[in-house]
């Protein structure tokens, strides 16, 4: 890599780029992570006790999660809900990606993509708040549904998991649409035509031809959505109810309300390990390599 950079930019500039990259990776990514791991392995001590006899490495912080029923439940619920968010996002995004890639004219596709992107020019918190307003007990969605006569009294969308799900699907839809769209777009139209010509209906054509072809894109979208969902703080904090607490909220509480960074670091590290584990599993199931995701 250095040689390519050197050929393009010359020795000094290439050196500068590599140095900056190195500083960024080591100082801003690796060291803080290592620091967190170190925190997670130490007990939460008063400043006076640091360096004293109690300051030794321990797995106690990790054990907390396995001994605390509520935290453990929320941990697994977060995973399960993130899987659900991922599947929902895929269900919404796949038809959209298909439409954009193969059905729409270039103009329609461009317009559609623009409409998808515009909301993302606004801050995530604000976008999530807008859902908070839409889904509120006396909010516009309930008003519309009542007006249409579909319901006779408002629904509490925000009391269960529903609000969080809707908010997350909306927040991460682009991370699913674009990889799937890219994958479907590279499919030769004649493949679809050939399948139709041989007698296949719509469902079979997608199941046997389009989806297998788009698999790397689908896997990429799923992994990104899952990681973002599992690590999301804003959406569950704003749209969630006490019944739909997210594991990230507990981590937050350890850090900023409990003041126990060591405990928070252990929880954060467990979430990271789990996400990496899930990602490897999905990649194994879909037989996708890391290189496919980079594309």
């Amino acid at each position: 890599m250095f040689r390519q950079l050197q050929a393009r930019f010359g020795g000094p500039l290439a050196m500068a780029i590599v140095t900056l990259l190195g500083i960024w990776l080591i100082v801003m990514v690796t060291l803080p992570q290592l620091q967190m791991i170190e925190y997670s392995l130490k007990p939460n001590l008063l400043p006076a006790q640091v360096g004293g006899p109690d300051d030794r490495l321990t797995l106690a912080n990790y054990a907390t999660l396995f001994n605390n029923d509520i935290h453990r439940t929320i941990f697994f619920k977060t995973i399960w809900s993130s899987v659900l968010v991922t599947l929902l996002t895929l269900a919404v995004s796949y038809p959209l990606a298909w439409y954009l890639a193969k059905v729409a004219t270039p103009r329609q596709a461009a317009l559609c993509i623009l409409l998808l992107i515009i909301p993302f020019w606004i801050n995530e918190i604000l976008r999530t708040y807008s859902w908070f307003i839409i889904l509120a007990f006396r909010g516009p969605l309930n008003e519309v549904l009542m007006m249409l006569g579909l319901i006779d009294r408002p629904i509490r969308f925000l009391s269960g998991n529903g609000g969080v799900m809707v908010g997350m699907v909306y927040a991460y839809i682009l991370f699913m649409v674009f990889p799937v769209y890219n994958a479907i777009e590279s499919l030769d139209d004649n493949q679809v035509r050939a399948a139709r010509d041989l007698g296949a209906g719509t469902v079979r054509t997608h199941r046997r031809i389009v989806i297998p072809h788009a698999k790397p894109g689908i896997a990429t979208g799923c992994i990104m959505t899952f990681m973002l969902a599992a690590g999301s703080y804003a959406v569950p904090a704003l749209l969630g109810s006490p019944g739909s607490r997210w594991f990230t909220q507990i981590i937050y509480n350890w850090f900023f309300e409990g003041g126990n960074w060591n405990q928070g670091a252990a929880y954060a590290f467990l979430l990271l390990v789990l996400c990496i584990g899930f990602m490897s599993l999905v990649m194994k199931i879909f037989k996708v390599g890391l290189g496919d995701i980079g594309r």
């Binding site: 004649n190 035509r193 050939a194 010509d197 041989l198 007698g199 296949a200 297998p212």
Partner: protein, 389 residues
């Protein structure tokens, strides 16, 4: 199993552009029928109308006397072989061939029987478990044929399937396609811009130009009795001379070639000739032969510009002294007698032809076709303008 196909006043328009002018045509069951024409002539559109990928703006398609309006692609008794073959790259050869049967709910054992029989038909017995990406161009071609045949279509539609192959393989596959067609007795509708393929394999050929069928005939008739100027110049090589009719005596027409002097030819089958009106005289390169300067009969004097030795024959590129037009002459037997060796660039020669071998057609304003590329170069009106002074 009736695999006849009938087009009844089919018209296809895309916006303001008419891709297919009103066309009616009947193709017999079990016939090997080709549509031949330059790119953009509408032949692929016609194929897509038969397969159901496109709904015609007007008219109706019948397959085995059943109207196809409202019958979607996946319910038509047709199968298509695509120009790029469109094999499913993530599947094995077996899975590709069996796809159509899987769709139809045929059980696994039966499917395998069929695909093994078809692989034997296309001489690929051991390739079933391979991925299609492992196959060579010719093998992929055969798999595409087997995949299409597996659904037992009444009509097989072939969209220039040989165009991606190299010359040797292409010629070999022609023979195989023809043999497969004879064995299976399925109607083949073949689309090509390669006249060699069309003439070689087909029972009948429809020559198309600009959305219109110019002539439908068996290959021999097409070559010997072209109905229009387009067919005459598109099918095989032809020298075209702009003339006026002097008079007509039975089959033989006397023509005024302007600066070329008096010429003569045989009346084309559908020509409407009027004395004094413009007419086109077509003389094939192989029908021209060197003659003495004072020989009787029609005679053309030309300066040789290039000599191409092709093995069995020599192709001469010459320019007519009188009019400056190009003339192509093919010398065959003379090669073995050593005469052609004596032809040199810059030399002036006289070429004669039998009037019975030259076809006279009324000037229909049909476009000129470039011999090399098969593309329309200019319409004859523009071409003729400079020649009649």
């Amino acid at each position: 199993m009736d695999g006849s196909v009938r087009l009844d006043e089919v018209v296809m328009r895309f916006g303001d552009f008419t891709a297919i002018e009103k066309t009616s045509l009947a193709i017999g069951s079990g016939e090997f029928f080709s549509f031949l024409g330059p790119s953009g002539c509408g032949k692929t559109t016609l194929l897509n109308i038969v397969s159901g990928f496109i709904t015609p703006s007007e008219g109706q398609v019948y397959i085995g006397d059943e109207p196809m309006a409202g019958v979607p692609v996946n319910r038509r008794p047709t199968a298509m072989i695509f120009q790029n073959l469109a094999l499913f790259p993530l599947m094995t050869v077996f899975e590709n061939i069996e796809f159509g049967l899987e769709v139809r709910g045929v059980d696994k054992r039966k499917r395998r029987e069929v695909s093994e029989r078809l692989l034997a038909l296309v001489a690929l017995e051991d390739s079933g478990p391979k991925m299609v990406t492992e196959l060579s161009g010719g093998q992929k071609q055969r798999v595409a044929i087997a995949r299409a045949l597996a659904v037992e279509p009444r009509v097989l539609l072939l969209d220039e399937p040989l165009s991606a192959l190299d010359l040797k393989l292409r010629q070999h596959m022609r023979t195989e396609l023809k043999a497969i067609q004879r064995k299976t007795d399925i109607t083949f509708i073949y689309i090509t811009h390669d006249q060699g393929e069309a003439l070689n394999m087909s029972d009948r050929v429809a020559v198309m130009s600009a959305g219109r069928i110019q002539q439908v005939a068996d290959p021999m008739t097409l070559y010997r009795e072209p109905a229009t100027g387009f067919v005459a110049s598109f099918v095989g090589e032809n020298n075209r001379l702009q003339t006026r009719v002097i008079d007509r005596e039975g089959e033989r027409v006397r023509l005024d070639g302007g600066a070329l002097g008096e010429l003569a030819g045989r009346v084309g089958s559908e020509a409407r000739l009027v004395n004094g009106e413009a007419a086109m005289l077509f003389v094939r390169p192989e029908n021209l032969r060197p003659v003495a300067a004072d020989a009787a009969g029609p005679r053309l004097e030309a300066e040789i510009e290039a000599v191409h030795f092709e093995g069995a024959w020599v192709m001469l590129e010459a320019r007519l002294i009188a009019s400056g037009e190009k003339l192509r002459v093919q010398l065959g037997h003379e090669v073995s007698r050593g005469q052609a060796g004596a032809v040199a660039v810059g030399q002036r020669m006289h070429f004669g032809f039998e009037p019975a071998d030259a076809v006279v057609l009324s000037d229909d304003g049909s476009p000129m076709v470039d011999e090399e590329t098969g593309e329309v170069v200019a319409d004859s009106q523009a071409q003729a303008g400079g020649m009649h002074v």
